[in-house]
């Protein structure tokens, strides 16, 4: 429990998003996981961060491409290449 004791709640909270994004490894990950085992308040806050992330992502649903966009891009590339040749 040594590492968990060293990690304060505010330090733990600062690592939540890196943890959720899968960017923590080694000692920092171990220290956070040990802290979470011992701190219910941080577990609940982490759950909320996870919920909020999923909630926001859910509001970014894929929108259809504007009609004809691919054709317009091809044409602009052709025009650009044509003028530069």
């Amino acid at each position: 429990m040594e590492k968990a004791e060293r990690l304060s709640c505010s330090d733990a909270v600062r690592q939540f998003f890196a943890y959720l994004d899968g960017a923590l490894a080694g000692d920092p990950l171990e220290a956070l996981e040990e802290h979470l085992e011992a701190c219910l308040d941080c577990c609940q806050k982490l759950d909320f961060s996870r919920t909020l992330d999923a909630y926001v992502k859910g509001r970014l649903k894929e929108e259809p491409l504007p009609e004809g966009i691919e054709e317009r891009i091809r044409r602009r590339i052709e025009d650009k290449e044509g003028t530069e040749r």
Partner: protein, 195 residues
């Protein structure tokens, strides 16, 4: 560039059109501006295509171009109310505020029910209000599931900066949602400290 090289570019680039457009849409907020940005990305990319060293990293390379163009474009725009970012934002906690305010006293799932009261467009507006330095990496995580190492490369930032921007970006988003809740009257009894 000869026709064959141009075709090769289009074959590599066009399959990513949908992802690029979704990102551009969320970073600009409007379909027309998003298309402009994507077109500009393709033109810039074909210009730099002959210097591309690693075709396996083509998608990341396109996002690097698009991200830079998006950041430049947003910096050039005067936003109506620029979002203030101060050091204390790192400690902002929407979780604590909802808990303290308890806007839905009969709810068994207070935090989830609170979030459910926002309209989709309000959440997107809250996100769009983020300064570009925070919005761009956050969208790359949300939409593309990019790893911190890729973000560091795409945005030319040290890993520590990527990490702090993704933390701070989410904290700014939490604050924007709280402000929106106050304006909408979702939080009824909250008073400014100065009142």
């Amino acid at each position: 560039m000869d026709v064959e090289a141009r075709r090769r570019f289009e074959d590599l680039a066009l399959p990513h059109l949908k992802s690029l457009y979704q990102f551009a849409l969320r970073v600009t907020g409007t379909a027309g501006t998003a298309e402009d940005l994507v077109q500009e990305t393709f033109l810039k990319a074909i210009e730099q295509f002959p210097t591309l060293r690693d075709p396996a990293r083509f998608k990341a390379w396109l996002f690097r171009i698009l991200s830079r163009l998006a950041i430049d474009r947003r910096r050039g725009e005067a936003r109506q109310v620029p979002v203030q970012v101060t050091e204390d934002i790192d400690r902002f906690s929407l979780y604590d505020l909802i808990w303290e305010e308890d806007p839905l006293p009969y709810s068994d799932h207070l935090h989830e029910d609170f979030l459910a009261r926002f309209r989709d467009e309000e959440v997107r507006a809250a996100l769009l209000a983020l300064p570009e330095a925070y919005l761009v990496p956050l969208l790359l995580v949300y939409l593309e599931g990019m790893k911190y190492r890729e973000l560091a490369e795409i945005l030319d930032l040290p890993m520590g900066t990527v990490m702090s921007r993704l933390h701070r970006g989410r904290k700014i988003l939490e604050r924007q949602l709280w402000e929106c809740a106050k304006q909408r009257g979702l939080v009824k009894t909250w008073k400014k400290p100065s009142d």
